[in-house]
């Protein structure tokens, strides 16, 4: 994919930071506001897609490195399973942090309230793990599809020239 015009690149440089921060907001507040690991990860991955389109596939490969994404994805997945294993004292996915006073352990106030971030025990950890995995995974998918599109474009150009 060729690069976009200069205007798009400037706007992208400005915007993509906020998109990523918004994505992390959705991941972190998954247990309070609508959203969670997958939705937040998708928003962050849309920032990568934006970078890919505006800078074209060749340039984007320099700062969107597939190996880092794959490493991030494995770390996210392993974190998810390790958090589930930690609950093995009682049962597999046991929420050992809920109402325990330590991390994310406050009591939940019933009724209508804006909600306290420090509640719901293991759930925020799971959301972060899934968010990490999803935005790395979708990042890889977007980059690989860009490579695929690049290959088929080169093939078509070659056929048209012949």
């Amino acid at each position: 994919m060729k690069e976009m015009s200069r205007i798009v690149k400037i706007v992208t440089n400005f915007i993509y930071g906020f998109i990523i921060i918004f994505g992390f907001y959705i991941i972190a507040h998954g247990h309070l506001t609508p959203g969670g690991g997958f939705q937040g990860g998708a928003v962050v991955a849309s920032a990568f897609a934006l970078l890919l389109i505006s800078y074209g596939q060749m340039k984007a490969k320099k700062f969107l490195n597939i190996n880092i994404f794959s490493l991030l994805e494995s770390c996210g997945l392993t974190m998810f399973i390790v958090v589930a294993f930690l609950g093995l004292g009682t049962t597999f996915f046991y929420n050992f942090l809920a109402n325990s006073g330590s991390w994310f352990g406050n009591m939940v106030i019933p009724g209508i309230n804006p909600g306290d971030m420090n509640t719901a025990g293991v759930l925020p950890l799971m959301n972060i793990a899934v968010g990490l995995e999803v935005f790395a995974g979708l990042g890889i998918i977007v980059l690989l599809m860009a490579d695929g599109a690049e290959y088929t474009k080169k093939k078509e150009n070659a056929e048209n020239d012949r």
Binding site: N67, S70, L71, E73, S74, C75, L77, T78, I81, V82, A84, F85, G87, L88, G89, T90, T91, F92, F93, Y94, N95
Partner: protein
């Protein structure tokens, strides 16, 4: 905190953790991923055996996720289970043993078989994911959890079918076809689960089974589930993905795919026996499954005889052998309603059908591994190009003879024991079915004689001069399977009495299935 009552989940969680760690290990050193995956699968095989011994001695095991204790099925304030739970009874662990053994041997076989440099860590993590999802399909007691594992299984198997797709076109085509058909199937299963949830507001199989009334909606859900899962198991009118997928996947993966379609077969039996049991019109649904079995048997074997590609021929045989299992269990289902016939031949027919699942997984796995060995050495799968390989590959020839004799149902091997059970009991139900089953068995032998003659016999061909025996890890995997085939063949009563009969009983007695979860309500 002894690990014993956590075994149902550890069988799944350890390979899952390994699957996620493998890309990281792959970065450190390429060869370690294969050995690590094999060790983890070996560990999960040992855990499956421990769980099997425990279930066959004590009774079905429940494992509730995230509850105060693994056995707390009903949260204090409610009358029906909410949490996702594993309910492993004799039938579930019977299939679990097949999955564990087949995937362990597949991992050992692929240590030497797969030598691709780049995609090695994705291969092993997908193999572990496929094993985990098959375990999940067989152990779960929750309908939606079954749908999620079904979807993971089809995605993992599709990516493994396309593993050789970077330089070849056919594997990707086979994978694409399988993926399209499996996603329709999975979405239809989700539709049926939506119907169940809409009617009974609960997703747990045992809870639904205790309140099911076989209303008009339940009939629709039953029709969708049976036909869609029959497609995933490879029953005939919808079997066409099977030869494409089995012939294009690498040999160890085909062996595991056979066990994966048997997991869908198990799902049909779970839906029909544990979810509905007597409430459904047993004769009609029984005859539907019998007709699926007959079609699969006959068309599977007649299509197999004319095949030229060795793995395509064996794939059609997998379809025709699935027909035997459907026939056996279909007869058992057809007579489920009247107890006298059930005692006389229904239970023996089901024992034959379910014992045939285990036997088929063993000898079909062995045959696919021998086909993989031939492909590994000669590079072709076309029977016309092969010839005289018995001169060079001694062990593979012996293993092939054992596998072919077992699939054709020759006496000392395990195929004969389960086919005999099916013939005698199905004869009492309806003689014509048993006659067709015998004719199909003869045609199976005919087509394997053809493979043996064209691939192994004949003079030494010039282009195979430098062919030599396959590496040790492949020979070891095939040797283990042959030992099991011979052992099951010589002492079938050990297996039938200790493993197959409890499995059949756990399918037939629906009240035991529901009472373990709802506490004998």
């Amino acid at each position: 905190m002894n690990l014993l009552n956590h075994t149902p989940i550890l069988i799944l969680a350890l390979p899952l953790l390994a699957a996620f760690l493998i890309p990281i290990i792959g970065k450190i050193n390429k060869k370690a991923t294969g050995i690590f995956a094999t060790l983890v699968l070996g560990l999960s095989l040992i855990l499956t055996i421990i769980l099997a011994v425990k279930i066959l001695s004590v009774g079905p095991q429940i494992y509730v996720f995230g509850a105060k204790s693994p056995l707390l099925t009903l949260p204090s304030s409610l009358k029906f289970p909410i949490r996702i739970m594993f309910q492993v009874d004799a039938m579930g662990i019977f299939m679990g043993l097949i999955t564990a053994l087949v995937s362990f041997l597949g991992a050992i076989y692929s240590l030497a078989f797969i030598d691709k440099k780049d995609g090695l860590d994705s291969y092993y993590s997908l193999l572990l994911l496929l094993t985990v999802s098959m375990f999940g399909m067989e152990f779960t007691g929750d309908l939606f959890n079954f749908f999620v594992f079904l979807e993971i299984a089809s995605m993992a198997s599709v990516s493994l079918i396309c593993y050789r797709g970077t330089d070849l076109g056919e594997p990707v085509e086979a994978g694409f076809k399988y993926m399209v058909v499996s996603s329709i199937a999975a979405l239809m299963v989700l539709f049926a689960i939506g119907i169940f949830y809409g009617e009974y507001d609960v997703l747990n199989i045992a809870a639904i089974a205790s309140v099911i009334k076989y209303s008009q909606l339940d009939k629709i859900a039953l029709g969708i589930l049976v036909s869609v899962l029959a497609m995933k198991a490879g029953a005939v009118p919808m079997h066409m993905w099977t030869p494409d997928a089995y012939s294009e996947a690498p040999a160890p993966i085909t062996m595991i795919l056979v066990a994966a379609s048997q997991a869908s077969l198990y799902a049909i039996f779970r839906v029909v026996f544990s979810l509905y049991n007597i409430t459904l019109n047993t004769l009609a649904v029984g005859w539907i499954i019998i007709i699926f079995g007959l079609l699969s048997m006959f068309i599977g074997v007649t299509m197999a005889i004319i095949q030229k590609d060795i793995k395509r021929l064996m794939a059609y045989h997998a379809i025709s052998q699935t027909g035997y299992m459907l026939l056996g269990v279909g007869v058992g289902l057809a007579v489920l309603a009247n107890p006298t016939a059930l005692q006389r031949y229904g239970i023996t027919a089901m024992e034959g059908g379910i014992f045939h699942i285990m036997n088929h997984a063993m000898y079909k796995g062995l045959l696919f591994l021998t086909a993989g060995a031939l492909f590994f050495r000669t590079g072709t799968r076309d029977l016309n190009k092969m010839g005289g390989l018995a001169h060079y590959m001694k062990y593979t020839t012996i293993f092939f003879i054992i596998g072919a004799a077992a699939i054709a149902g020759l006496p000392p091997f395990n195929g004969f024991a389960s086919k005999l059970l099916i013939y005698e009991s199905v004869y009492k139900f309806n003689p014509l079915l048993s006659i067709i089953a015998m004719v199909v068995s003869i045609l199976t032998l005919a087509s394997f004689v053809k493979v043996f003659h064209s691939a192994f016999l004949g003079p030494k061909l010039p282009q195979f001069i430098e062919v030599k025996e396959v590496p040790r890890s492949m020979v070891f995997a095939m040797a283990v399977l042959s030992f099991i085939i011979i052992f099951f063949g010589l002492f079938p009563d050990l297996i039938v009495k200790n493993l197959v009969h409890p499995a059949v009983m756990s399918l037939i007695e629906q009240f035991k299935y529901t009472s373990t979860v709802l506490g004998g309500m």
